[in-house]
Subunit: 473 residues, 2 copies
Amino acid sequence: MTESSSPAARLLTREPVVAAAGAGLLADALAAQAVAVTRTDWRPPAPGTSGDLDRVLADPRRAEANRTAVGRVLASTANLVDVRPASEALGLRPGQFLHAGPPITWERASGPLRGALVGAMLLEGLADTPEDAEKRLAAGEAEWEPCHHRGAVGPMAGIVSPSMWMCELEDTVHGNRAWCSLNEGLGKVLRYGAYGPEVLERLRWMSAVLGPLLQRAVRRHGPVDVRAVIAQMLQMGDEGHNRNRAGTLMLLRELTADLVESGAPSRDTADVIRFVGGNDHFFLNLVMPACKLALDAARGIPGSTMVVAMARNGTDFGIQVSGTADRWFTGPAAVPDGLYLGAYGPDDANPDIGDSAITETAGLGGFAMAAAPAIVRFIGGRVQDALDATRRMYDITLAQNTAHGIPVLDFRGTPTGIDVTRVVRTGIVPQINTGIAGRVAGTGQVGAGLVTPPITCFTSALAALADEVPAGH
Amino acid sequence: MTESSSPAARLLTREPVVAAAGAGLLADALAAQAVAVTRTDWRPPAPGTSGDLDRVLADPRRAEANRTAVGRVLASTANLVDVRPASEALGLRPGQFLHAGPPITWERASGPLRGALVGAMLLEGLADTPEDAEKRLAAGEAEWEPCHHRGAVGPMAGIVSPSMWMCELEDTVHGNRAWCSLNEGLGKVLRYGAYGPEVLERLRWMSAVLGPLLQRAVRRHGPVDVRAVIAQMLQMGDEGHNRNRAGTLMLLRELTADLVESGAPSRDTADVIRFVGGNDHFFLNLVMPACKLALDAARGIPGSTMVVAMARNGTDFGIQVSGTADRWFTGPAAVPDGLYLGAYGPDDANPDIGDSAITETAGLGGFAMAAAPAIVRFIGGRVQDALDATRRMYDITLAQNTAHGIPVLDFRGTPTGIDVTRVVRTGIVPQINTGIAGRVAGTGQVGAGLVTPPITCFTSALAALADEVPAGH
């Protein structure tokens, strides 16, 4: 009987057991021959990074700095405390605009970013026609800088102009405020680069009616605990980026009674309720500044390798890291992979755009996909993909946010706090859920899907972190 | 080498492989000895039922009758078309009440049912004190019959009195209407058997303000598609029985703008919004009549073995079956197994009560547990239990309701249409989510949990079905 054979003989008579790591080629070949293969997630670090990785991993400040950084993210609060015009809240003057992502010039700006700037020029009365606006923008008659540079975040093109009304959120623990514009809805909207008459008419109503009525409601209600709503929405099929349906309903429930009692005309009140209730993404513009507050609390901690912002301007993907102050590390933005609306297809898609990846940076969106299995119907894939996406993100994050329990994972907290060293070491890049803008200015939304940042953002951040490691280490 | 041994010899040298069915004792013993056991779900039919089972399974009408029955369930619609007092909608006269479950006398009525009848007597001005009410009820001064006998359903005690306002739902496909009272909220409420001053005060406000304002809103809005909301809520963590949070929010969104425009005083409008928005169970009282409509459409089909009602009065658990007209098959109601509020424990619990098991009868509630993994935090157990509960129900049902896709099961439709023959053949009884009422009249809610019907309801229904099989089969 084989049980009595020598160990060496047994190796020849028993079925081989194979554990595979790294490139899948060998494992695939064995599997094709019906050999049982146990695959591991290990992958080699990105090429040319081992020196930087050794240096940063040996930084004696790192562990404590990262504990502090992610601790601040978890401890942050986010209350909606006001709704105000950007001119007042952010001091934006005529001819000044904010945009999504890292800094960019007109020459390098993508279609949807140009389209949204054109719309903002028209909205603010700084140009008479789209052509006129383009000419003035190209001639340097306006100025723009990233939302992130003013404590704000903007979805998609992320354009903020002085007359737009902003949600104002406060983190009472760390004493910060953050802002985001009011969500316009889907389809032909400014943030996707559309600037037709219906876009401008909607924006004017938002400044004349929606903003002021929400201001009344919020001031009458008192601070709305946005973090509490986020915790709830993750138990109701939302992941806080591409799906904000339950969050929007809960915000509406929170504010409606005060809105009714605020003394505004019934017709306007009903219009506001219908507008917010009819836009499942309205709450995205509150999730984003809540995430911004969490990550701003963790900025500028020497030695921390935690990512504090991921943002795209339609051309570049940029990240910022706690240990490297406000530096941007950029690489080319990719075109998302997803499902398209109507007759649109991948050829119509602009590369990745928007500050909304702040949700993933804080452990929501693509990182919380397992909480929102229904989302696969809008971005493609199967439910298992959603579960796998969240599970994979635990490998590159510093903590689990127990306030954000995912029911189907037995309330395991969302993977939170992206660690540059883990991304580089594993080659696993953050999973981002996103809308897809048309690449031609004026088009609007063409789809929704998944995208990842270029690994170069993380390898150049790692190099900068390595330069900052104190001498002698 | 073993590969060249005879088949008989191989049996002795290889590890045994065991498949186990029926009682788990043998499988457990083998597992304890580290033998791999594949367990199957097969169980022997309930004792003494094989004759009835053979007869009913051989009924030539059965397959087609069940296809018709479950087809009507799937094809039914449910629109909220009005909100009206029970006196008007159901023709209830002073001294007439409806209650949950099969018929029952005062002598056999449980504490919460008696408590709710006492409260209804006080509410209607038919008694001056609880003692006076009890005396009059025991003396036969009032009459009561099951909600189900009047096209209505009531959660927990399910007491309906003439002055209570009812949601009125319509199935436009089959031309039926169904009714349910307005949900009072949790804690000390009439439906859990409480009748204190705060209970009666709330009920008076509901009749004076809530009902009339909802009537205005619904009439102004037009029919509200309750089935569409149910389909959505299953993608938002609700199962439609113990969790109705998303459903309630969607109903509020649907009606609020019309409520605001209906001309009612702002203060009353705001109160109604706060009351509905503050009660996550409000929508249960719309899910229930929607399910009632679906099942009423399938009543009275000769040869059909599909269950069309499961209902409990706090003493008896009763079921009705399509092929046996309006007969009740009853057995003793069990005490639910679950989690208790505050200092309450199992000794405080009344046996199972309420018409709300109509949700399970229609494939929601316990049958849709996999859609609501977060519910295990309120009723006990782990997420896997929720998934397993739904999967088990596919074994005793006739169809999957594709309109009710469960995201985490890759949008598999909810198990719908309980088949008496499958229940008896497998011994698997329906899984019901439920609230737990205090057994002493006047207490209110003490917990929430899981419960199952006694198998005798199904074996006696099977016997009746066997009697109805045409001679010669």
